[in-house]
């Protein structure tokens, strides 16, 4: 029987093959049979988690809270220097320059990326905007969010900052950033769960030493990371508390 590893569906598509390479590397290093399962959306992934199928996950901060509190997962590592940030943008021709100038009734485009949506909604609050007084336009990808803004189907969009920065220059020229979050302490984490918890220390050692191994460094590069650093239990608890405060 192999253990199941999955990645939060909000990963950058450019790094899809990187996760498969990473899984092969991890199996070799730990000697454990691990199957990588990529789910297309959050609903499918959460269903697998609910059915206790998942043993290892690169989780977004929103899901991390549920994984620790309800499913007994513990943190392993996080990528160094990578944090989750959100951007609020409008079309470049939109006369609005500040969130406070947006008016109730505006049409908001977003994805179902939970922590990014939450950060985005927080940044819209100074304009007295909330889910009740905006029209919603749910999108599968950030490229779709951008397209809706360009076409004028949506007035304002919420982006994962990394995804916005990865948009083509041509698209970015037609958009305008109203606000970019600088939160710094919200991040994805690689987490270990039931069935593998007794191997936590071994996994942590492998992963924190990955950057100093020639092959490991190449694998990290394919994920867009430079190295992993250990996340201890208290750091994870702090982030969960932080997410709790932001969810109200």
């Amino acid at each position: 029987m192999s253990f199941l590893f999955t990645v939060s569906p909000d990963f950058t598509p450019d790094h899809l093959s990187g996760w498969y390479i990473f899984n092969t590397w991890l199996q070799k290093q730990t000697g454990e049979p691990i199957h990588l399962e990529m789910y297309n959306d959050f609903t499918a992934q959460r269903e697998a988690i609910a059915q206790n199928k998942v043993n290892l996950i690169y989780a977004n901060p929103y899901d991390a809270a549920m994984l620790v509190r309800e499913k007994g997962f513990l943190p392993l590592v996080k990528p160094v220097g990578v944090s989750d940030e959100a951007i609020i943008a409008v079309g470049a021709a939109n006369p609005v320059d500040d969130v406070a100038e947006l008016t109730p009734g505006v049409k908001l485009a977003f994805t179902d990326d939970p922590d990014v949506k939450m950060m985005g909604m927080i940044m819209l609050e100074p304009g007295d905007l909330d889910a009740k007084n905006m029209q919603s336009l749910s999108c599968d990808t950030y490229v779709q969010v951008a397209k809706h803004l360009l076409r004028g189907d949506a007035d304002v969009g919420i982006f994962l900052a990394e995804a916005y920065d990865d948009l083509s220059e041509m698209i970015k020229k037609q958009l305008k950033i109203l606000v970019r979050s600088q939160i710094s302490v919200i991040h994805h984490s690689l987490m270990i769960g039931p069935g593998l918890l007794d191997k936590r220390e071994q996994f942590q050692q492998c992963l924190t030493g990955m950057a100093s191994d020639e092959k490991g460094a190449g694998v990290l590069e394919s994920l867009g990371f430079t190295s992993w650093e250990k996340v201890d239990d208290e750091e994870m608890e702090f982030m969960i508390d932080l997410m709790d405060t932001l969810s109200v």
Partner: protein
Amino acid sequence: MINDMKPEDIVGEFKEAALNLFGGMQRKVLYTEIETPYPDGKLIVSTTDPNGVITHVNQSFIEMSGYTEAELIGAPHSILRHPDMPSAAFKDLWDTVKRGEKWQGFVKNLRKDGGYYWVKATVIPNIRKGVVVGYTSVRRKPSRTKVEECRKLYPTLF
């Protein structure tokens, strides 16, 4: 322990007030009418022990409060208490978090230089193995509409 504010730290014309703080502490504060706008996209984060003594602050907290990290760690959180904030608001905060619930409200905070800044604050108890080990407070940018409402409401609560 909390020190009185010093005139040499204050920027601009100031008024003086004596505050009675939690735990029987008293403090002389000096305050001006200079507002520092809340920085876009940032969160101000701090953690205290169960008695409200600061154990952690982030960079945004340091920048907005005007104090150094060394001045903040170990100080009571009421170092930010502005005389325009009614004590009823803080009583409600403490009553709520002591019940193990989240508190949210709009707060006018006092800077070291006597100026002020408005925040939308959320405070939650940090529960570890069933025990409250402290509180985390996160502030975000408030809407001006809400600030104006509080500006009118708070003086009626004294």
